[in-house]
C-alpha cells in the first residue's frame, strides 16, 4: 500500500512558465513533508520542506503548499528553468521517526 503517491510519472512545461508537481498521502500521522530533486546518475538532493503546522513554505522560485484536509501537497516552481529538468520526489515522515516514506517521483521536463 503506497502511503505517498505521485500520480504523474512525467510533466512537460515551457521554460518561464509555472511547474506544479503534486503529491498525495494517506497516513494522517505524517507531520513533515520534503521534496527532493534528482538528476541522472546522482543521488537525490534536498529541495524544500514543510511542517504540518504550516500550509505554505517558500524558498526563492520554489513554493510548497500543504492541504491537510485533502492530504495533498504540491510544489510550485516559478519561473521554470532548463536546469529544473529532473525527477522530483515527495517524501513524508511522522513524529520523530527516523524514516522517510517516498513517492515514486515525477520527471519534470522543461522545454526551451
Amino acid at each position: 500500500d503506497q502511503q505517498v503517491k505521485q500520480n504523474s510519472p512525467s510533466l512537460s512545461v515551457q521554460e518561464g512558465r509555472i511547474s506544479i508537481l503534486n503529491c498525495d498521502y494517506t497516513n494522517s500521522m505524517f507531520d513533515y513533508f520534503l521534496w527532493y530533486k534528482k538528476y541522472p546518475a546522482e543521488g537525490p538532493t534536498f529541495l524544500i520542506s514543510i511542517s504540518s503546522i504550516k500550509d505554505k513554505n517558500e524558498d526563492g522560485r520554489f513554493t510548497v503548499f500543504l492541504n491537510k484536509s485533502a492530504k495533498h501537497l504540491s510544489l510550485h516552481i516559478v519561473p521554470s528553468q532548463p536546469g529544473d529538468s529532473a525527477v522530483y520526489f515527495c517524501a513524508a515522515s511522522w513524529d520523530s521517526n527516523y524514516q522517510l516514506i517516498w513517492g515514486a517521483g515525477t520527471k519534470l521536463i522543461i522545454k526551451p
Partner: protein, 113 residues
C-alpha cells in the same frame, strides 16, 4: 567536505555471489541509511543506523546485512546475490538536528545476472 561517498559506482554480479557496498560520510552525522531504487519506484529503506554500533531493519531488509563500527562508515553486505537485487543503491546520512533532511551519495548501480 566530500559529503557521502559510495563505492563502487557500478557492479555486475553473478547469481550466488556476495559483495559489500561501501558508504562513508565526513559530516559527523549520527544517522545513516541504505535505500534501493527500482525503475519507476520510490526509494525503499533497507537498513538504517542511529549511531555507531546500532542498526535496524527498514522496509526491505531480506538478503542484506549491515554493520556500523564507526560514525563514518556504513557498509551494506549482499549475501547470495539474486536477480531481484538488481537495483540502484543509495546511501544517505543526516545530522542530529536536521529534521529528516538526508544527504545522499551518488549511488551504486548493481546488476545481478
Amino acid at each position: 567536505n566530500a559529503g557521502v561517498t559510495q563505492t563502487p559506482k557500478f557492479r555486475i554480479l553473478k547469481i550466488g555471489q556476495s559483495m559489500t557496498l561501501q558508504c562513508t560520510q565526513d559530516m559527523n552525522h549520527n544517522y545513516m541509511y541504505w535505500y534501493r531504487q527500482d525503475p519507476g519506484m520510490g526509494l525503499k529503506l533497507i537498513y538504517y543506523s542511529v549511531g555507531a554500533g546500532i542498526t535496524d531493519k527498514g522496509e526491505v531488509p531480506n538478503g542484506y546485512n549491515v554493520s556500523r563500527s564507526t560514525t563514518e562508515d556504513f557498509p551494506l553486505r549482499l549475501e547470495l546475490a539474486a536477480p531481484s537485487q538488481t537495483s540502484v543503491y543509495f546511501c544517505a546520512s543526516r545530522g542530529q538536528n536536521s529534521y529528516n533532511e538526508q544527504f545522499f551519495g551518488p549511488g551504486t548501480r548493481l546488476t545481478v545476472l
